[in-house]
Protein backbone atom coordinates (compact mmCIF):
# COMPACT_ATOMS: atom_id res chain seq x y z
CA UNK A 1 0.00 0.00 0.00
CA UNK A 2 2.82 2.38 0.94
CA UNK A 3 4.55 1.77 -2.41
CA UNK A 4 1.26 2.23 -4.25
CA UNK A 5 0.74 5.60 -2.59
CA UNK A 6 4.28 6.61 -3.54
CA UNK A 7 3.43 5.83 -7.19
CA UNK A 8 0.30 8.00 -6.92
CA UNK A 9 2.39 10.87 -5.57
CA UNK A 10 4.84 10.33 -8.41
CA UNK A 11 2.03 10.73 -10.97
CA UNK A 12 1.40 14.18 -9.53
CA UNK A 13 5.09 15.03 -9.51
CA UNK A 14 5.37 13.94 -13.15
CA UNK A 15 2.51 16.28 -14.06
CA UNK A 16 0.29 13.44 -15.29
CA UNK A 17 -2.42 14.46 -12.87
CA UNK A 18 -3.12 17.78 -11.16
CA UNK A 19 -4.35 16.14 -7.99
CA UNK A 20 -5.90 12.98 -6.57
CA UNK A 21 -7.87 11.74 -3.58
CA UNK A 22 -8.70 8.30 -2.29
CA UNK A 23 -12.45 7.73 -2.20
CA UNK A 24 -14.80 4.74 -2.44
CA UNK A 25 -14.60 1.84 0.00
CA UNK A 26 -11.02 2.42 1.11
CA UNK A 27 -11.74 6.10 1.62
CA UNK A 28 -14.65 5.16 3.88
CA UNK A 29 -12.50 2.66 5.80
CA UNK A 30 -10.37 5.63 6.87
CA UNK A 31 -13.37 6.85 8.93
CA UNK A 32 -15.29 3.69 9.90
CA UNK A 33 -14.61 0.12 11.04
CA UNK A 34 -12.86 -1.95 8.35
CA UNK A 35 -15.06 -3.81 5.85
CA UNK A 36 -14.46 -5.90 2.76
CA UNK A 37 -13.51 -3.87 -0.30
CA UNK A 38 -11.41 -4.96 -3.25
CA UNK A 39 -9.74 -2.02 -4.88
CA UNK A 40 -8.37 1.40 -4.22
CA UNK A 41 -10.58 4.03 -5.87
CA UNK A 42 -8.50 7.03 -6.79
CA UNK A 43 -10.32 10.10 -8.08
CA UNK A 44 -8.15 12.29 -10.24
CA UNK A 45 -8.25 15.78 -11.63
CA UNK A 46 -6.27 15.96 -14.87
CA UNK A 47 -4.00 18.88 -15.68
CA UNK A 48 -5.41 19.27 -19.16
CA UNK A 49 -9.05 18.39 -19.62
CA UNK A 50 -9.43 16.04 -22.54
CA UNK A 51 -11.67 13.29 -23.76
CA UNK A 52 -9.39 10.57 -22.47
CA UNK A 53 -7.76 11.75 -19.26
CA UNK A 54 -6.63 8.24 -18.34
CA UNK A 55 -4.76 7.50 -21.55
CA UNK A 56 -1.42 9.13 -20.71
CA UNK A 57 -1.69 7.84 -17.16
CA UNK A 58 -2.11 4.24 -18.30
CA UNK A 59 0.66 4.62 -20.87
CA UNK A 60 3.06 5.83 -18.18
CA UNK A 61 2.08 3.13 -15.69
CA UNK A 62 2.35 0.36 -18.30
CA UNK A 63 5.84 1.63 -19.17
CA UNK A 64 6.72 1.24 -15.50
CA UNK A 65 5.60 -2.39 -15.66
CA UNK A 66 2.19 -2.17 -14.01
CA UNK A 67 -0.44 -4.19 -15.80
CA UNK A 68 -4.09 -3.32 -16.33
CA UNK A 69 -6.65 -5.88 -15.22
CA UNK A 70 -10.25 -5.24 -16.22
CA UNK A 71 -11.11 -1.73 -15.01
CA UNK A 72 -8.15 -1.56 -12.65
CA UNK A 73 -4.40 -1.38 -12.91
CA UNK A 74 -2.27 -3.36 -10.49
CA UNK A 75 0.21 -1.04 -8.81
CA UNK A 76 2.65 -2.74 -6.46
CA UNK A 77 0.19 -5.60 -5.96
CA UNK A 78 -2.85 -3.44 -5.30
CA UNK A 79 -5.68 -3.05 -7.83
CA UNK A 80 -6.18 0.65 -8.35
CA UNK A 81 -9.13 2.11 -10.19
CA UNK A 82 -8.56 5.61 -11.49
CA UNK A 83 -11.74 7.63 -11.87
CA UNK A 84 -11.72 11.11 -13.37
CA UNK A 85 -13.56 13.63 -11.19
CA UNK A 86 -16.37 14.05 -13.69
CA UNK A 87 -18.68 16.37 -11.76
CA UNK A 88 -18.44 19.39 -9.49
CA UNK A 89 -18.91 17.43 -6.26
CA UNK A 90 -16.06 15.06 -7.11
CA UNK A 91 -13.83 17.96 -8.18
CA UNK A 92 -14.44 19.67 -4.85
CA UNK A 93 -13.89 16.37 -3.00
CA UNK A 94 -10.47 16.06 -4.62
CA UNK A 95 -9.43 19.66 -4.08
CA UNK A 96 -10.53 19.70 -0.42
CA UNK A 97 -9.24 16.21 0.46
CA UNK A 98 -7.43 15.63 3.75
CA UNK A 99 -3.69 15.24 3.72
CA UNK A 100 -2.74 12.17 5.75
CA UNK A 101 0.44 10.19 6.28
CA UNK A 102 0.33 6.42 5.73
CA UNK A 103 3.39 4.71 7.17
CA UNK A 104 5.56 7.70 6.36
CA UNK A 105 4.05 8.37 2.92
CA UNK A 106 1.84 11.38 2.39
CA UNK A 107 -1.48 10.83 0.67
CA UNK A 108 -4.91 12.39 0.29
CA UNK A 109 -8.28 11.02 1.44
CA UNK A 110 -11.66 12.63 0.79
CA UNK A 111 -13.25 14.25 3.84
CA UNK A 112 -15.98 12.28 5.63
CA UNK A 113 -18.60 14.84 4.49
CA UNK A 114 -17.53 14.59 0.84
CA UNK A 115 -17.52 10.78 0.98
CA UNK A 116 -21.03 10.76 2.43
CA UNK A 117 -22.27 13.21 -0.22
CA UNK A 118 -20.66 11.16 -3.01
CA UNK A 119 -22.38 8.04 -1.62
CA UNK A 120 -25.74 9.83 -1.79
CA UNK A 121 -25.00 11.00 -5.32
CA UNK A 122 -23.90 7.54 -6.53
CA UNK A 123 -26.92 5.98 -4.88
CA UNK A 124 -26.29 2.23 -5.17
CA UNK A 125 -27.39 -0.18 -2.42
CA UNK A 126 -23.81 -0.58 -1.23
CA UNK A 127 -23.44 3.21 -1.11
CA UNK A 128 -26.51 3.38 1.13
CA UNK A 129 -25.08 0.74 3.50
CA UNK A 130 -21.79 2.63 3.65
CA UNK A 131 -23.65 5.91 4.17
CA UNK A 132 -25.39 4.37 7.21
CA UNK A 133 -22.00 3.30 8.57
CA UNK A 134 -20.59 6.77 8.03
CA UNK A 135 -23.54 8.32 9.89
CA UNK A 136 -23.04 5.92 12.82
CA UNK A 137 -19.28 5.74 13.12
CA UNK A 138 -17.56 8.68 11.43
CA UNK A 139 -17.24 12.08 13.02
CA UNK A 140 -19.28 14.02 10.48
CA UNK A 141 -19.84 17.76 10.58
CA UNK A 142 -23.62 17.60 10.09
CA UNK A 143 -24.07 21.26 9.14
CA UNK A 144 -21.24 21.03 6.57
CA UNK A 145 -22.80 17.90 5.07
CA UNK A 146 -26.28 19.48 5.00
CA UNK A 147 -24.94 22.56 3.20
CA UNK A 148 -23.04 20.34 0.78
CA UNK A 149 -26.02 18.18 -0.20
CA UNK A 150 -28.10 21.32 -0.75
CA UNK A 151 -25.40 22.90 -2.92
CA UNK A 152 -25.19 19.81 -5.13
CA UNK A 153 -28.94 19.17 -5.38
CA UNK A 154 -28.90 16.01 -3.25
CA UNK A 155 -31.10 17.20 -0.37
CA UNK A 156 -34.14 15.05 -1.13
CA UNK A 157 -32.22 11.79 -1.42
CA UNK A 158 -30.09 12.65 1.59
CA UNK A 159 -33.18 13.22 3.75
CA UNK A 160 -34.74 10.02 2.44
CA UNK A 161 -31.64 8.01 3.38
CA UNK A 162 -31.41 9.70 6.78
CA UNK A 163 -35.05 8.79 7.44
CA UNK A 164 -34.35 5.19 6.42
CA UNK A 165 -31.40 5.13 8.79
CA UNK A 166 -33.38 6.56 11.71
CA UNK A 167 -36.18 4.02 11.20
CA UNK A 168 -33.72 1.13 11.14
Amino acid sequence: MKKTLAVLNDLKKQGLIADYAIGGGMGAVFYVEPFLTYDLDVFIVADEPGLQPLESLYRYLKKRGFRPQQEQIIIEGIPVQFLPAFNELLKEAVSEAREIVYQGTATRVMTAEHLAAVMVQTGRTKDRERFFKMIEEAKIDQSKLTRMVERFGLRQKFLQWKRMHDEK
Binding site: M1, V29, E33, P34, L36, Q69, Q70, Q72, E137
Partner: protein
Protein backbone atom coordinates in the same frame (compact mmCIF):
# COMPACT_ATOMS: atom_id res chain seq x y z
CA UNK B 1 -38.80 -9.86 40.04
CA UNK B 2 -38.33 -8.85 36.43
CA UNK B 3 -40.27 -10.72 33.78
CA UNK B 4 -38.41 -12.92 31.34
CA UNK B 5 -39.26 -10.50 28.47
CA UNK B 6 -37.90 -7.51 30.40
CA UNK B 7 -34.71 -9.41 31.20
CA UNK B 8 -34.31 -10.28 27.50
CA UNK B 9 -34.79 -6.60 26.59
CA UNK B 10 -32.06 -5.58 29.02
CA UNK B 11 -29.74 -8.27 27.64
CA UNK B 12 -30.39 -7.23 24.03
CA UNK B 13 -29.88 -3.54 24.85
CA UNK B 14 -26.54 -4.48 26.42
CA UNK B 15 -25.57 -6.44 23.34
CA UNK B 16 -26.46 -3.57 21.01
CA UNK B 17 -24.48 -1.14 23.19
CA UNK B 18 -21.46 -3.45 23.28
CA UNK B 19 -21.61 -3.91 19.51
CA UNK B 20 -21.75 -0.19 18.78
CA UNK B 21 -18.93 0.47 21.27
CA UNK B 22 -16.86 -2.19 19.51
CA UNK B 23 -17.59 -0.57 16.14
CA UNK B 24 -16.56 2.84 17.41
CA UNK B 25 -13.30 1.36 18.73
CA UNK B 26 -12.67 -0.33 15.39
CA UNK B 27 -13.39 2.94 13.59
CA UNK B 28 -10.81 4.73 15.75
CA UNK B 29 -8.00 2.30 14.80
CA UNK B 30 -5.07 3.71 12.82
CA UNK B 31 -5.63 3.56 9.06
CA UNK B 32 -2.63 1.24 8.48
CA UNK B 33 -4.11 -1.28 10.93
CA UNK B 34 -7.48 -1.05 9.20
CA UNK B 35 -5.86 -1.74 5.83
CA UNK B 36 -4.33 -4.90 7.33
CA UNK B 37 -7.82 -5.99 8.44
CA UNK B 38 -9.22 -5.32 4.94
CA UNK B 39 -6.47 -7.47 3.41
CA UNK B 40 -7.29 -10.26 5.87
CA UNK B 41 -10.99 -10.01 4.97
CA UNK B 42 -10.09 -10.26 1.28
CA UNK B 43 -8.05 -13.39 1.91
CA UNK B 44 -10.93 -14.94 3.85
CA UNK B 45 -13.38 -14.02 1.07
CA UNK B 46 -11.04 -15.54 -1.52
CA UNK B 47 -10.77 -18.70 0.65
CA UNK B 48 -14.53 -19.00 0.96
CA UNK B 49 -14.90 -18.63 -2.79
CA UNK B 50 -12.29 -21.32 -3.35
CA UNK B 51 -13.94 -23.69 -0.89
CA UNK B 52 -17.27 -23.18 -2.64
CA UNK B 53 -15.63 -24.12 -5.94
CA UNK B 54 -15.76 -20.61 -7.31
CA UNK B 55 -12.97 -18.75 -9.01
CA UNK B 56 -10.82 -16.95 -6.46
CA UNK B 57 -11.21 -13.20 -6.38
CA UNK B 58 -8.63 -12.05 -8.84
CA UNK B 59 -8.25 -8.60 -7.51
CA UNK B 60 -7.67 -9.56 -3.87
CA UNK B 61 -4.52 -7.81 -2.79
CA UNK B 62 -1.31 -9.73 -2.40
CA UNK B 63 -2.84 -12.94 -3.66
CA UNK B 64 -0.45 -14.06 -6.37
CA UNK B 65 -2.44 -14.19 -9.59
CA UNK B 66 -0.05 -16.74 -11.12
CA UNK B 67 -1.22 -19.34 -8.61
CA UNK B 68 -4.84 -18.37 -9.23
CA UNK B 69 -5.22 -17.96 -12.97
CA UNK B 70 -8.50 -16.43 -14.03
Amino acid sequence: MKSKAAATDVMLAGKVRAKSEFRRKQAAMPFARKVEVVVRLQKIAAGIGKAAGKKPIRSAWRIPTRRHPA
